[in-house]
Assembly symmetry: C2
Homo-oligomer: 342 residues x 2
Amino acid sequence: MDEGRSVVKTRRVVLSDVAAEAGVSTTTASYILNGRADEMRIATETEERVRAAVARLGYRPNRSARSLRTRRTATVGLISDQIAGEQYGSSMLTGASLAARELDHVVVMGESGGDPELERLLIDEMVEREVDGVVYATRTARTVHLPDGLRGTRAVLLNCEDPDRTLPAVVPDDEGGGRAAASVLLDAGVEDVWVVGEDPTPEATAGPRRMWGVRAALAARGVALAGIVPCDWSVNEGFEATSRWLSDGNRAAGLVCMNDRIAMGAYQALAEAGLRVPDDVSIVSFDGSSLAGWLRPALTSVELPFTDLGAHAVRRLLDPTDEGGTVFLPMVVRHGGSVRSG
Amino acid sequence: MDEGRSVVKTRRVVLSDVAAEAGVSTTTASYILNGRADEMRIATETEERVRAAVARLGYRPNRSARSLRTRRTATVGLISDQIAGEQYGSSMLTGASLAARELDHVVVMGESGGDPELERLLIDEMVEREVDGVVYATRTARTVHLPDGLRGTRAVLLNCEDPDRTLPAVVPDDEGGGRAAASVLLDAGVEDVWVVGEDPTPEATAGPRRMWGVRAALAARGVALAGIVPCDWSVNEGFEATSRWLSDGNRAAGLVCMNDRIAMGAYQALAEAGLRVPDDVSIVSFDGSSLAGWLRPALTSVELPFTDLGAHAVRRLLDPTDEGGTVFLPMVVRHGGSVRSG
DNA sequence: CGCCACTGCTGAATCGAATCAGCCGCATCA
DNA sequence: TGATGCGGCTGATTCGATTCAGCAGTGGCG
């Protein structure tokens, strides 16, 4: 305020400027700004003077200086295989970023594209930058081994779990989702249900869990699963598999597709065969992606809570009382028009 | 190596440890590790000793300490309205993250969701953390005003431009893309071309530029645009608008849809009207999203180079010789089966 | 012989905040 | 009256790197 005015290039305001302005020591100013005023028995009047000085000078703490001293950077790393450039799992980033902001942290992103070497580099980079923790995320829900580089670091698994299920992990409740999907069909009076899309990879968790859920919900009403159409989780495979299934003479009143892309393929196959959704076949699927809303009729789909997953992972990462273990977030049904009514 | 062995909790290796190990001062070690060995005329033998010590001790510099001194954080901010959680514009993040890594930087992400207040917070946050620069990205290509908070910071616009076109900006070459789209139809002998999807918002740049390109390419072959079907850039609007257009008795041999979602809507409308793609109608669109590959037949689409856009923006941000101004990245045609052959 | 230039290196200050160990003045109590 | 405690504050050090200013030693030159 005084000596700074004549200088042309305005120097950055530092804590000692604030202290001088308020007529206290930097120590006192520091205590106040770190919320330790009570603990240090600073007089209310002094505190107010300091806060006024902060506001007047527009003081912003220097993060580097603080980090150097405290060894905390108010930064969380997010390392993923491919969630950034991906269809809609990228919503996990949105959630992570929002939750981080709420907790006065910032997200540092690194995408390995599945390359283990790049992943190692990214992890080293983050550890070197002393992030307060790392969220390790995968595009598809599955079992992973925590990379060695993260052993010494606080880490939360996002959309994946370690083999022992001991590390903190946040995943969708695919089993509950499976039950919900089957229930939608059952509630509509559809009891002749096939599942389209078995999970191709052994470490994948989403498929098996959804399957369990579907079977459980059917069993609870005394219905058996009519059959399974194996196929990869892509539009083209969904189309091919469903077409083959149809041309083999199969029919079903209800299909549970393992994701929206398979469902899109099924739509195409059914259309080619002259079958109508939902009049001839009711379809429920998983993902709740925007694709579901683009199909005609709109696809009833059990939504993956990607944004919540990301947010939850960051919150657990920054919660020192977190006990580890897997947390399952609910999947809710987004109703479209692909299930016949009542 | 010596005093550290007996200690249980291994202290982090710092520069002075390296210096001691190599028998030089920290000053010398610092010069060597910062590539200033030649400038400071350090003996090759000394340099080797220091580097050996670094390797032996596994030294990693403390970023906070460095940043405190140099005021550079080797960090770039990426602020966007919604690219993180978006369909596939999120590939910009992938590109940005990769380019940053190549330049030994790291990306700090913030998504405002379009909320100006949150955007201000995010910008403040990044400026406070002294990022070396900020990439300001938008989901849709358009004209924007650089937020005030970024005035004093190095910034590059990504997928958007300022009104004066003076700031460094990286955008797709939509006009070239428009020419390419029209050329695909013309080359297939289709001269009766309609455009589906006028740009709804005045500040949007993609639509007008694509339109210019289409008109230019047609004009170059002496063909006039047959007409325009106005509609928003969504699947549903694409369907509705195309349906209305068809029921008004219109027909065309070729449609240029302003994006893949509109094209999907057009597919649906054409199918309902009993028209086949590409036999009755050839379709070209823009985006080159995975959706294009999911449609049957696969959609020929002019690809938005999102990954490159992100990478390019970061490279320009970190290039001190950059002169500002807009850089247009080429859009290339991804061929599907939606255009009739020859 | 004295001066200079050059090589090869180092001591000490600095960046900005956090924090340990006290210090002063006053009230309390035996 | 002296010891004790407490409220309210501060001086000095520390985090780990960068960097300015400068210092020995050697060789060349007039």
